[in-house]
């Protein structure tokens, strides 16, 4: 379990003033760092981009078959996650590919099938769809269709995802639900640097192909004391970040920080404490941790940036009501993006922000009083 911890209020990056005097805030959440490291030993302050860089550096150092590739990774990648790695390990191990996501995915599957460790970077999760055929029809099914003779467990596909303040339709998407529907893949979303390093190393070492979605707004704004040695966090396991018995709040990625704030608001304004769960792995997901919590609290709110209809919250809600029906005091609630493409100027109205989540929690708590 990750530490409880003092939160550090960092209101995004900059506050910019525009002619008409109103402020443009660049983030909708307050970052809550982990204050406890998952392993003992020396730590170093790293932001999430640096933690990911560190995980890949450790991999390239210890695994001679490991290669990292994608668009623009040679100079460090557009988010600098690959910074310095081509210089350190050479162009045959860290390299640019042509601009072709279906090629990147297919090439990665082949590398992994031939026994190499392949870290494939897709520049933005919004651009992963040309690779969908390779990932869903090939990567996910290779082990199954060959009865284990062939598999591409050595493949990890990384992509920046999620709202960033101004990304609009094609630089803000959270596509986890599309991939959650492809048995054979693992899908993982970190909430910060410590989680990112441990989960990414776990994905790279995993015997199954993994999709690692990195909330891009956290690359710079999230910093923690990250252990410098190699360590993994278990896939398929959620973490309970706060404890309480009033309700269970579930999210992943950036949204975890929104719910942590909502839990604080609930304590201050309503005098109640909630369990806050970071799901961490979308596929497979930790049914036991979630259901144990909901059986305790009887009320559940799931929040995700991705649109409501058929978002991953729907799968969680369906399973929770199956497993916890007699323990529920209210229907499982979801706060999510609206069922529209991710808009540019309307982002503040689109996201399931602290007020939509807090309001949903209030209604959840008041349900049996209606």
């Amino acid at each position: 379990m990750a530490g409880l911890g003092k939160k550090i209020s960092i209101l995004g990056n900059l506050v910019k003033y525009v002619n008409n005097g109103s402020k443009r805030l660049s983030s909708h959440f307050v970052y809550h760092p982990d204050n406890e490291a998952p392993v003992a030993g020396e730590t170093s302050k790293m932001n999430m981009m640096q933690a990911i860089n560190n995980a890949m550096d450790l991999t390239l150092k210890s695994d001679p078959t490991a290669v990292l590739f994608g668009e623009d990774v040679g100079f460090g990648g557009v988010f600098r996650c690959a910074l310095g790695l081509q210089e350190k390990y050479g162009k045959d191990r860290v390299f640019n590919t042509p601009l072709c996501e279906q090629g990147i995915a297919g090439f990665g599957i082949g590398l992994a099938t031939a026994g190499a460790t392949a870290i494939a970077e897709i520049q933005f999760a919004d651009y992963i769809f040309p690779a969908f055929d390779q990932l869903v029809n090939e990567a996910a099914k290779a082990r199954y269709r060959s009865a284990g003779q062939f598999a591409c467990g050595g493949l990890t596909v990384r992509a920046p995802c999620g709202a960033v303040g101004h990304g609009g339709l094609y630089h803000s998407q959270s596509p986890e639900a599309f991939f959650a529907h492809a048995a054979g893949l693992k899908v993982v979303v970190p909430r910060g640097p410590i989680a990112a390093k441990g989960l990414l190393l776990a994905c790279i070492q995993e015997q199954d192909p993994c999709i690692f979605l990195e909330p891009k707004i956290l690359y710079r704004s999230a910093a923690e004391e990250v252990p410098v040695d190699s360590y993994t966090l278990p896939l398929g396991k959620a973490q309970v970040l706060r404890e309480g018995d009033a309700a269970t709040l579930i999210a992943w990625g950036t949204q975890v920080h929104v719910l942590l704030e909502v839990a604080e608001m609930a304590e201050e304004r309503l005098g109640v404490r909630c369990d806050v769960i970071d799901l961490m792995s979308i596929l497979p997901w930790d049914v036991d941790t979630v259901c144990n919590s909901v059986k305790k609290t009887g009320r559940c709110l799931i929040a995700h940036e991705a649109p409501l209809t058929a978002g991953f919250g729907a799968e969680l809600a369906a399973t929770i009501q199956e497993e916890c029906f007699l323990h529920l005091e209210a229907p499982v609630a979801r706060a999510a993006g609206w069922d529209a493409p991710f808009p540019h100027v309307f982002e503040p109205f689109y996201l399931p922000d602290r007020w939509r989540c807090f309001d949903a929690l209030q209604r959840l708590l008041a349900y049996d009083q209606q």
Binding site: V78, Y127, G167, G168, F346, D353
Partner: protein, 382 residues
């Protein structure tokens, strides 16, 4: 037995009309363009440069969230746009603002789109530079690369089937986008289905940080054309007159339902976008060389000055006019509110389905209760 390779054929030559001094190389190749059109072409370049300069700076100041400049490709924009007809349809990528300006998109519409205010024809839904104009036959841009290519081919096929068709389609894409699967699909469909389309590749040497040496082998994008059944030409993209002649000829061919591939060689003088710093991956000397020696604006300027149509006074005056209109428009655009928040949920479908109506009602209720937490004063109200 003989195997062929990329050295088996001479590289496809680069067609030019004027040299770096704006002098016509071969008189018989000089296009016949009337003076008004020539001036329009040049003025569009100047207007484009002013817009790029000011809008890039405005992103740096936090006034708009993002911008992409067009430096180095002005010749491609005006040369191609001037050879098309208004009824032709344009599908583009994101670095074609000169084409849009030439075809009549106003500085106002463009700046409104960048600000995403309520006068933006796109209703503030997309990032800056994602322009579109139905009345000017410019399909609204999207960020994913090369997706517009097979779409453009399909649109061309629809035109072909219309009675008495006189429209063709032009589709712009970059050297990087040409590596996408969609590009291959577009070439192949255009040829097999005999579509009236000009596929126009802006080869500017880079895809963000990736130089063409890491993007492809073989003789560029042009060599793929004949291999897939397309009429093909490679041109000097910094020579607006060469581009004009190529597109003029391509249009004649395309309108006979024979698709054409044009590869225009140029150089991306600016950064990829406001999110990029190209000094991280290329030497400044390289940029300077292209800016000084192969400058499309300079070349066309020398040509029209040579014809007595332009001089340093008209240059100074027009540059100032162009700058002033951008600054004035920006000041106005900033004051305009963003569209009503309900526009966030419109146009998802033709008719709004019940579940979306329900979500709109939920948000309306939510905003009544929590209005002080939302920037409603920046948006239009009822």
């Amino acid at each position: 037995m003989k195997l062929l390779n990329e050295h088996s054929y001479d590289p496809i030559p680069i067609y030019r009309v004027i040299d770096n001094n704006g002098e016509v190389i071969e008189r018989t190749e000089e296009p016949r363009i009337d003076n008004e059109t020539l001036l329009n072409m040049y003025k569009t370049m100047v207007q484009l440069n002013q817009m790029d300069k000011i809008l890039y700076e405005s992103q740096r100041q936090g006034r708009i969230s993002f911008y992409m400049t067009n430096y180095g490709e002005e010749g491609i924009h005006v040369g191609s746009a001037a050879a098309l007809l208004p009824q032709d349809m344009v599908f583009a990528q994101y670095r074609e603002l000169g084409v849009l300006l030439y075809r009549g998109m106003t500085v106002t519409e463009i700046i409104n789109q960048c600000y995403g205010n309520h006068e933006d024809p796109g209703k503030g839904r997309q990032m800056p530079v994602h322009y579109g104009s139905k009345q000017r036959n410019i399909a609204t841009l999207s960020s994913p690369l090369a997706t517009q290519m097979p779409q453009a081919v399909g649109a061309a096929y629809a035109f072909k089937r219309a009675p008495n068709n006189e429209r063709c389609v032009i589709c712009y894409f970059g050297d990087g986008a040409a590596s996408e699967g969609d590009a291959h699909a577009a070439f192949n469909f255009a040829a097999t289905l005999q579509c009236p389309i000009i596929l126009f590749c802006r080869n500017n040497g880079y895809a963000i940080s990736t130089p063409t040496s890491e993007q492809y082998r073989g003789d560029g994008i042009a060599a793929r054309g004949p291999a897939l059944g397309l009429h093909t030409i490679r041109v000097d993209g910094t020579d607006a007159l060469a581009v004009y002649r190529a597109v003029e000829r391509a249009r004649e061919i395309a309108i006979q339902n024979k698709p054409v591939l044009i590869e225009a060689m140029s150089y991306r003088v600016g950064h990829h976008s406001t999110s990029d710093d190209s000094s991280a991956y290329r030497p400044v000397e390289e940029i300077q060389k292209w800016t000084q020696e192969e400058n499309p604006v300079q070349k066309l300027k020398l040509y029209i000055e040579g014809k007595g149509l332009w001089n340093s006074d008209t240059e100074k005056q027009f540059a100032k006019e162009a700058r002033d209109i951008v600054l004035r428009t920006m000041q106005q655009a900033e004051k305009k509110k963003k569209p009503h928040w309900k526009e966030m949920l419109e146009d998802v479908y033709y008719d709004m389905p019940p579940h979306l109506q329900k979500q709109m009602n939920q948000m309306e209720k939510h905003l009544k209760k929590y209005k002080e937490h939302y920037p409603l004063d920046q948006f239009q109200s009822e």
